[in-house]
């Protein structure tokens, strides 16, 4: 940026005191601007015209004057303010000089028009933002249901298993079984429950009087230990069945064989 640009500038020598004060106020406020475009928009307001009819040349001069003033006051200006100043100085020269046909790129007028468009757009966005914030707002002007009923999330859990799971599960138990020593210990023992189960399934065939001893499981009569256990269990079971009314039970004399028979009404 060259110094003679400001000396060319007639504004600050001739303008009213009020405008000078306004410009100084701007400079004091330099921190309050959101960048060069914001500053340009504020400066453009002093032209008091529709943004579409703004004089970009005049605006460029205002801006450059502002920058000079700020420099004179030794205010720290961000780099982008200086970049903009340089660009506006370039724009100004383009606008003042007759167009060079050899020059490429947009003309001074096109650049000026774009800057004007940017200012107008920024102003429009600020206006739109103000309108938006002036709308009725939720929680301020209109309200939501104060007592919302939460939708109860009924979480239904469905469990599933595959046939493979089932088989593996069973195989697991059965494999485990083989290594359980106490199972072997109990091999010679028939429980009342086992006997009862067995008898219940067999008495269906006991239409005639049959010896209780014939109900011993196959093979159990050979081993004395097993036979004793099974006989006792079978006897107890037959008493249970007789009590339940499923069978009749008889014994001809002491130590005679005990016989059972299905009860037809049982």
């Amino acid at each position: 940026m060259s110094a003679d640009l400001t000396s060319e500038d007639p504004k600050f020598d001739t303008d009213a005191v009020a405008e000078r004060l306004a410009a100084e106020a701007l400079i004091i406020d330099v921190d309050g601007f959101e960048g060069p475009l914001d500053l340009l928009l504020t400066l453009s307001r002093t032209q008091k015209v529709d943004l579409r009819k703004i004089s970009v040349l005049q605006l460029a001069e205002q801006y450059l004057a502002f920058i000079e003033k700020a420099k004179a006051l030794r205010l720290e200006l961000a780099a982008d303010y200086l970049v903009m100043a340089a660009w506006l100085a370039f724009l100004k020269s383009r606008l003042l000089l007759p167009p060079d046909p050899a020059e490429e790129g947009p003309s001074g007028e096109e650049l000026a028009a774009h800057l004007a468009f940017q200012l107008e757009r920024l102003a429009a966005m600020r206006d739109a933002a103000a309108k938006l914030m002036a709308r009725d707002q939720k929680g301020r002007d209109f309200f939501v249901r104060g007592l919302p009923e939460d939708v109860a999330r009924v979480r239904k859990i469905t469990y599933t298993a595959t046939l493979m799971d089932l088989m593996q599960g069973y195989a697991r138990i059965k494999t485990k079984d083989e290594f359980r020593p106490f199972v072997m210990d109990r091999e010679a023992v028939m429980t009342l429950e086992q006997a009862l189960e067995r008898m219940r399934s067999l008495i269906g065939y006991a239409g005639e009087w049959t010896d209780l001893t014939s109900y011993l499981p196959e093979g159990w009569e050979l081993d004395p230990k097993k036979r004793r256990s099974a006989t006792a269990a079978n006897f107890a079971a037959s008493l249970e069945l007789a009590k339940a009314g499923k069978i009749s039970i008889r014994q001809g004399e002491i130590f005679a064989p005990i016989q059972i028979k299905k009860r037809d009404d049982g």
Binding site: I157, Y159, T160, L163, L166, E178, S201
Partner: protein, 224 residues
Amino acid sequence: MNDDPQDIEGEAESLFEAPPMGEQERMVEAILFASADPVTVKEIEGRMPLGCDVAEALVHLRKRYDGRGVNLVKVGDAWAMRTAGDLGFLMQKETVEVRKLSRAAVETLAIIAYHQPVTRAEIEEIRGVAVSRGTVDQLLEMEWIRFGRRRMTPGRPVTFVVTQEFLDHFGLETARDLPGLKELRSAGLLDNRAPMGEMPIGGDGENDPDEMEAQEGQSELFED
């Protein structure tokens, strides 16, 4: 608040006339809608312009919401808007989550399927550990097992059998279609380490009392 200028000359005690009843009703409606808790008549009055007849507005409002999806209800001495009782079902959202059955449940189920009808004590005997109430309840709830006949033994314990639902789920026609130990073994699910002589499965060991029971169980399955 009041756009009818004629109203202003009204009552002496208030500078401005109360809004028309329709307007009061709207106000009460908005207050009740937005309040987090039921609101008493006094509270509503405190928030409305002077001279409003809140009680009357409530009567109108209650009538307006009569039979709607939301009703105006009295809660103690306060008022609130509540979803109509018959629409409560809309306030539920069901999400279905599929989970794998626990190992304990799978094993219990397998035992019931292979040994049915089977008592809890027998399941415990086979598994070697106590069967938790939760496991059995879960299987009952899933309708994969049900109670069978009571066992005619002291204490008359209940038995468990598998259900038609179970058969459907596993694509079985009867529980007898469950693969036997032989098949399990050939499928590599069992080791060949020990003889399986007494295994009460799929036609091995016809003398085994469990086997007889299992067959009886089959018929029991379909008895009803």
